[in-house]
């Protein structure tokens, strides 16, 4: 930098440009640097990394807690003794009930809705007690064999930590609202060892919109938490992925069948939860002390009857299902009993997540469908493991209703892009069937059962959007050209009843003028002047037919008539909108 100081004039010359010295010093001082670095948007990004690291550490601790809980409650071996199968989940259920009712009432449920509530209702505020409660009770529940998973609690723990940091850092209200989802992404990414899926899930299901600011923070926190998690727990996937190949495109029919079965299973699962949950909550208060214990006992009985695989998150059994260890009939039974076991755990109010059970049910169902299809159509080449892998995505799409995440989750977990077509086919069928039979997604139903009205991301995605073309009217009367002589323009306007007239500017652009104004100009002897030189508004904004109608609202109160022009040719008039037409269209839309 070529920098000279002239003390006489107090002017600095930098690369030929002059600045007042005081301004330059002010802009380049350490204080200015700090000010710039700690501007809230940048500070938020720095904070996102801390949130990711702390969430990752918390999730690692959570995993240790689940492990220790399992070791001491269920034993160290892969085969469980009957006594432990019965006693561990039921006695833990009693302890969990006392903890939830007396100490951590906000730690019930999965945690996804609580994070959404923090975003939309509580300005990002989640009490740290929720995280502590979730950590303890969910670790106890999952470790003792309740059919729940660690992902959603991890998500909530991450969100709680983020919320705590946001409060301590005195962030603005806007940032505070966003900080819980940032932590949620970190928690989920660490729990699932899948940063892309975590980011997508949070964007798709919690925040519901994509902006560079949010995305940057969410990605930073998710990546930092996964790095921390892998530092401590290694980078291996939750299960070994079988070889995946699609030799014959006709096999997509088989995957479509899997999608249909998965969609129906999702509806059964979701209906079970939404039916039984309010009934359990409506039971007398004292029964809530025993509901998790009874659920645990019943799960223990299911385990004793030959399906110990339903206990806990069950990732090791997903792994075994993917590698052909079970017959397709047994896989179908496992899918069924896991739905029952998860229903019992969840509706009893035991804290824990739905992700792992969903993946478990999906994998078993996928394996069962794949195995059955192989049995009846031996020429199919897709392995049972491939169907199990696709099945996980199917339930994710059908039950959790996160279609984008469901596809990327399978891709990220499998690390194999050749599976993308079967996954998309199967997930689409599952999603469409689930949405057709149960229009409201499970998370939204649970929220409404809790008396909250949070925005449904699915409904937002599916919502009809009014566009300018819906309120656009054809042009009536003449359109003037800016180069027209006033005399000629008035002759054209003689037969028009409209008071306001559009004027096409040269070379492009639009304006309006009133007939009255033009007549006044003519009376002043300006008949030979161009219309363009007589305009009061040199230029008015224009719209395109595909603009959202709310864009038109910004203009129609200031200009009586707004031109709607083609995107290919700005001089080509497609129609006009007025305030009256816009409001009429909104009214009709509101009336359905």
């Amino acid at each position: 930098m070529d920098l000279e100081s002239n003390p006489e004039t107090d002017v600095l010359v930098e690369n030929g440009r002059t600045h007042a010295a005081s301004v330059w010093i002010h802009q380049h001082s350490p204080r200015a640097f700090l000010r710039s670095a700690f501007r809230e948007d940048r500070f938020f990004l720095i904070l996102s990394v801390f949130i990711g690291v702390l969430s990752g550490l918390a999730v690692v601790c959570f995993r240790f807690a689940i492990d220790w809980s399992r070791l001491y409650l269920l034993g160290t071996g892969a085969v469980l003794t009957p006594v432990r199968m019965l006693l561990a989940p039921s006695l833990s259920g009693l302890v969990i009930a006392v903890l939830v009712i007396h100490f951590f009432p906000t730690s019930r449920g999965s945690g996804v809705n609580q994070t959404k509530a923090a975003l939309y209702i509580f300005n990002g505020d989640i009490p740290i007690r929720t995280a502590i409660g979730k950590f303890v009770t969910a670790a106890l529940a999952i470790g003792s064999g309740h059919s729940l998973g660690p992902e959603d609690p991890s998500l909530q723990i991450g969100a709680c930590l983020a919320s705590l940091l946001g409060r301590k850092m005195q962030l603005s209200r806007d940032r505070m609202r966003l900080i819980a989802p940032v932590g949620a992404a970190a928690g989920l990414a660490a729990a699932f060892n899948a940063p892309i899926s975590a980011v997508l899930f949070v964007i798709e299901e919690v925040i519901g919109r994509w902006t560079a600011g949010i995305l940057g923070s969410v990605v930073l926190s998710a990546v930092s938490s996964v790095v921390v998690m892998r530092w401590f727990l290694g980078s291996e996937s939750l299960f070994r992925i079988p070889a995946v190949e699609l030799k014959n495109p006709t096999e997509l029919i088989a995957y479509a069948v899997l999608g249909v079965v998965g969609g129906l299973a999702s509806v059964v699962f979701a209906s079970g939860i939404t039916t039984l949950r309010p009934k359990c909550k409506a039971l007398p208060l004292w029964t809530q002390y025993f509901q998790p214990a009874i659920a645990g006992l019943l799960i223990g009985i299911i385990a004793m009857m030959g399906a110990p695989q339903v206990m806990g998150a069950g990732y090791e059994y997903i792994d075994q299902a993917m590698h052909g260890q079970f017959t397709w009939q047994f896989l179908a039974i496992l899918a069924g009993v896991k739905i029952v076991a998860t229903l019992l755990s969840f509706v009893s109010g035991t804290p824990g997540g739905m992700f792992a059970p969903t993946l478990f049910i999906g994998a078993m169902l996928g394996g069962a469908v794949g195995g059955a299809q192989h049995f009846f159509f031996p020429h199919l080449t897709g392995s049972v493991g491939t169907y199990a892998l696709v099945g996980m995505g199917v339930l994710f799409a059908g039950f959790l209703r996160a279609p984008m995440t469901s596809v990327f989750m399978v891709l990220e977990v499998s690390g194999n892009y050749s599976i993308i077509v079967p996954v998309i086919v199967a997930n689409t069928f599952a999603y469409v069937i689930s949405r057709g039979l149960q229009p409201i997604a499970i998370f939204d139903l649970l929220t409404r059962q809790d008396g909250l009205e949070l925005p449904s991301m699915e409904e937002l995605r599916e919502e009809d959007v009014l566009r300018v073309e819906d309120a656009m009217q054809p042009v009536e009367g003449p359109v003037l050209d800016a180069n027209d002589k006033l005399e000629k323009a008035l002759m054209e306007l003689d037969h028009s009843e409209n008071e306001d007239v559009l004027v096409r500017l040269s070379p492009s652009g639009w304006s309006t003028v009133t007939k009255e104004h033009l007549r006044q100009m003519a009376a002043q002897g300006k008949s030979q002047e161009n219309v363009g030189s007589l305009l009061l508004n040199p230029r008015i904004p224009h719209l395109h037919p595909d603009h959202p109608l709310e864009t038109a609202l910004r203009y129609v109160d200031r200009w009586p008539i707004v031109p709607v022009v083609s995107r290919a040719d700005f001089r080509k008039l497609e129609g006009v909108v007025t305030q009256r037409h816009v409001l009429e269209r909104y009214r009709e839309f509101g009336e359905g």
Binding site: R39, I46, T76, G77, L165, H323, Q325
Partner: protein, 388 residues
Amino acid sequence: MREQEKSMATGRFGRYGFYLRQRPALLVLLSIITIAFFLAVTGLSRAHEAQRQALGNRWFNRGVADLNAKRYDAAVTEFRSALLYSQDDYSYQLNLAEALIGLKHTAEASAYLLNLWDREPENGLVNLELARIAVQRGEIDQAVRYYHDAVYAAWPRDQESNRRQARLELINLLLRIKDLGDAQGELIALAANVGEDPAQQDTIGDLFVRAGDYEHALGSYRIALRADRRNVAALAGAGHAAFQLGQYPLAQHYLQQAIAASPGDTQSAQLLQTVDMVLRMDPFRRQISAADRDKAVVDAFKSAGQRLNSCTLPVASSPGAGPPISLNDEWFAMKPHISMAELRRDPDLAEKAMDLVFRIERQSSIVCGTPAGADLALLLISKLHEGS
């Protein structure tokens, strides 16, 4: 008043003044807390890891004991328990795969082995087990590939013997699928590797015989016999190989020794009988008197006639333009001239007679199958003198 002071401060430091005083300090504090948390989790992680390792090893050792005792069911459960604590442990997975193979759960074993193969494609044992599974599934190309990898793979211990074992299995597979060329190539490589180990050379000799490479088979048996001249299997094998090579005196030598060493070896005895007949009935052998030769011709001609009686041969077209002449007609036409006196008088007659005998034996072996006894000997003699 306090509000006023605050707003003055804000004014003096600009709109970021308040945060400038707060955020750096908070960030430093946050960094310290993060580092402390990180260290605490590191300690926790070590304790957790140590506990898991101890539990994993405990289950693994139990599994190994059960695997060695061929209690595959228990071994599988124990290895699975071990894997709960170290999902990616190579030896846990490998042993579980072996136990699963023991239980004939090849699909799952294969999944584990493929996973291990992805991590260490040069592991000999993994390649060998995968090859065996591929053989069971009838995936021959894959099996051959895995066997090749096993042969050239790294083995943690007993590398040479393990490689030999893998190559032996590969050769057996190649012989089974009748890929004799590749089998011979592998056998030559194997023979070069085993040195003078008589047992190995004996086995290799047998495999060379199965591959139809009698020259190398004889070589292998000879090496085996260098170490033990009374090696019955090697003597019998060498006799058989020499027989196949048409080296009948050598075959007689080895077979006689084999029978002497093992009188119950009926296969060698039968072979020796044939060899003796070949050597006795061959009129063209060296150091034979004219009378003996003529007698051998008369006997051979007689045997050929008997063969014609028991095996009806089709009529063959005559070499000239005349009507077809069968071997039977030829034999009958020549019969009045085949006597000791005629043969003595016409030295060319013996060759003509033997030529007819050989044609009869060859043709009848094609039409009626391989003969036995004197006819077999004559057939072998015909092959011995083929083209001479």
